[in-house]
């Protein structure tokens, strides 16, 4: 591998020997248990949704890369992750045509509008999900029962809705998620059910244990910044503990906050997006804390029952500024030394 010619390039000069595709492939492995469990819990509908979202993302990535005259970047697996993540944040039984549209928006608007992988300001999957939430607010809050008996034999009626038409009226179940139940009924779901995912919710956000396992795997391989999930969960824990101690009646316990909704999925797989999160360790701590606090604020005082998505998107938006704030002092200069804006 020794080259005689002098290779000139910009920093970084020390490389670790693993490429983008290695990391991305490992992220896919880490998500596999969550996705598999989702299919087991919600059946064929969840499987079709995962396939549709992934296909939409990969296809859009390929076409847009071709259109902009670049080499197709589908082989780096990042589009697969976006697709799978998007599907995991959607409710089971979500119409497939909407899922497909979400995938197109995620890659087109969330990634390629900014210049492709490495330039995206926001986590593309969350951009897709935010678009779908604003476009189809009814369909995205229609939840389905976990462990329906016929889930492997038939597909939920709403899944196969004809493109651009309204999904059929809620057929089986429109149960409230634990967070909605708490917000509107003040009912607490037992922590055991939450941890194992025996609850209605988005496809991939129900089983907190498997998500945590995937996260631990990535941390162990050094492919994820452990500070992000830790700081988010810590911030949520501390903030909600204070509230819970102040008034246990009005505010839920930190365990409930940790295990319910999309917090685990968001903290482990979404907020850790390498491009859209800060680079400096201190910046990461601030970023995670900000997201954690925002999650609690939106859940407790906001109009919506769940706020992980918006909290992470806001965190993404400020992360370049966080890096700038905590920029280390250049040796031999005063603190007010101004670096030239690039």
């Amino acid at each position: 591998m020794f080259q005689k010619t002098l290779h000139i390039s910009t920093s970084p000069h020390v490389v670790r020997g693993i490429g983008t595709d290695d990391i991305m492939r490992n992220v896919v492995w880490a998500m596999a248990p969550t996705a598999g469990y989702a299919i087991w819990v919600f059946g064929l509908s969840a499987l079709l949704m995962l396939l549709t979202a992934t296909a939409a993302c990969v296809l859009t990535e390929h076409l847009l890369a071709r259109m902009s005259g670049k080499e197709s970047t589908i082989s780096d697996w990042s589009a697969v992750i976006t697709g799978a993540l998007l599907a995991l944040t959607l409710p089971p039984g979500f119409p497939l045509w909407m899922t497909f549209l979400g995938g197109v928006v995620a890659i087109g608007l969330g990634k390629f509008a900014f210049g492709g992988l490495g330039y995206n300001v926001f986590n593309p999957a969350l951009v897709g999900r935010a678009f779908l939430q604003a476009a189809f607010p009814v369909a995205i809050t229609t939840w389905h029962k976990a462990f329906a008996p016929e889930r492997f034999l038939s597909v939920t009626a709403s899944t196969l809705t004809f493109p651009f038409t309204e999904p059929a009226a809620v057929d089986a179940f429109s149960g409230a998620t634990p967070l909605a139940a708490f917000k509107f009924e003040h009912a607490i779901t037992p922590a055991y059910d939450l941890a194992l995912g025996l609850i209605p919710g988005s496809t991939g956000e129900t089983c907190a244990v498997l998500i945590a396992l995937g996260g631990l795997y990535l941390i162990a391989r050094g492919m994820m910044d452990w500070r992000i999930p830790v700081s988010i969960l810590a911030a949520v824990g501390v903030f909600s503990s204070i509230l819970h101690l102040a008034d246990a009646e009005a505010y839920p316990s930190p365990v409930f906050m940790w295990l319910s909704g999309g917090l685990m999925l968001g903290a482990v797989f979404m907020a850790t997006d390498m491009v859209a999160s800060p680079v400096t360790p201190l910046g990461v701590w601030v970023y995670g804390t900000l997201i954690g606090v925002l999650v609690v604020v939106i859940r407790i005082w906001g109009g919506l029952p769940e706020g992980v998505m918006y909290a992470i998107l806001l965190g993404n938006a400020v992360s370049p500024h966080l890096d700038k704030l905590v920029i280390p002092r250049v040796y031999g200069t005063s603190r007010t030394y101004k670096t030239k804006a690039t």
Partner: protein
């Protein structure tokens, strides 16, 4: 802009003032003419819109009187329907009997303040009509409070449960989940517009708690005026 860089010719401030005054006078003339020209029509449309809303929430009314809610808890008749939130509109039927009272109320919804008007009939102690005057709730979701037929069905007869001496509301109106209505004073909510329908329940609850006892206290006034 090349001309901006060249030095403008020196002129006295007198000419500037004259030019500005002349332009101002010309503009003022235009505005006054337009105001005078359109005022009657605008007033007519405004009155019409309010009247339409009042007639809608008090079924069977043919004439109305406007009262202002005084700070000391009494009502006073006013002639001019000025834009004032603390006005109540009493509606009378053909025979001159009190058909109901229309009350405006507002409160925070999901997106912005929701303004509503509702009709209350003191004789039956029921809300008899309801209409959203202004709301910026999410189209397709929160704006169901304006058109969802099952939700609007609530307001055809919604009893206000009063204490024995009618000095306060016994059970505050509250919105519940769609299909979960059990008590008479509960409001059957809307699936997919939980927050907006709860906001309406809250606005109605606050307003009725405040106004309905006042109406009952001043009932002779409201009824007598009709007979005159």
């Amino acid at each position: 802009m090349n001309s901006a860089t060249s030095t403008p010719p020196r002129i006295g401030s007198g000419r500037m003032i004259t030019a500005m005054t002349a332009t101002g006078a010309l503009c003022a003339l235009f505005i006054v003419l337009a105001y005078q020209g359109t005022l009657p029509r605008i007033e007519y449309l405004k009155a019409k819109a309010l009247e339409k809303a009042i007639v809608e929430v008090i079924p069977g009314m043919t004439s109305q009187k406007v009262f202002r809610l005084q700070p000391d808890g009494t009502l006073q008749e006013v002639q001019e329907a000025a834009k004032d939130a603390s006005l109540v509109y009493a509606g009378y039927d053909l025979k001159g009997n009190l058909a109901g009272v229309a009350i405006e109320a507002s409160g925070m919804g999901f997106a912005d303040v929701i303004r509503i008007i509702y009709g209350y009939n003191p004789a039956t102690e029921q809300i008899i009509g309801f209409r959203v005057l202004e709301s910026k709730e999410t189209p397709g979701l929160g704006d169901k409070i304006e058109k969802d037929p099952a939700f609007l069905e609530n307001f055809k007869t919604l009893p206000i449960v009063l204490s024995a001496d009618k000095s306060r509301v016994q059970h505050r109106i509250v919105a519940v989940k769609h299909g979960k209505k059990e008590k008479a004073w509960e409001l059957d909510g809307i699936t997919g517009a939980t927050i907006s329908s709860r906001a309406v329940g809250n606005i109605l609850g606050t307003s009725t708690e405040h106004i309905v006892p006042v109406l009952h206290k001043n009932l002779p006034l409201l009824e007598n005026l009709a007979k005159q």
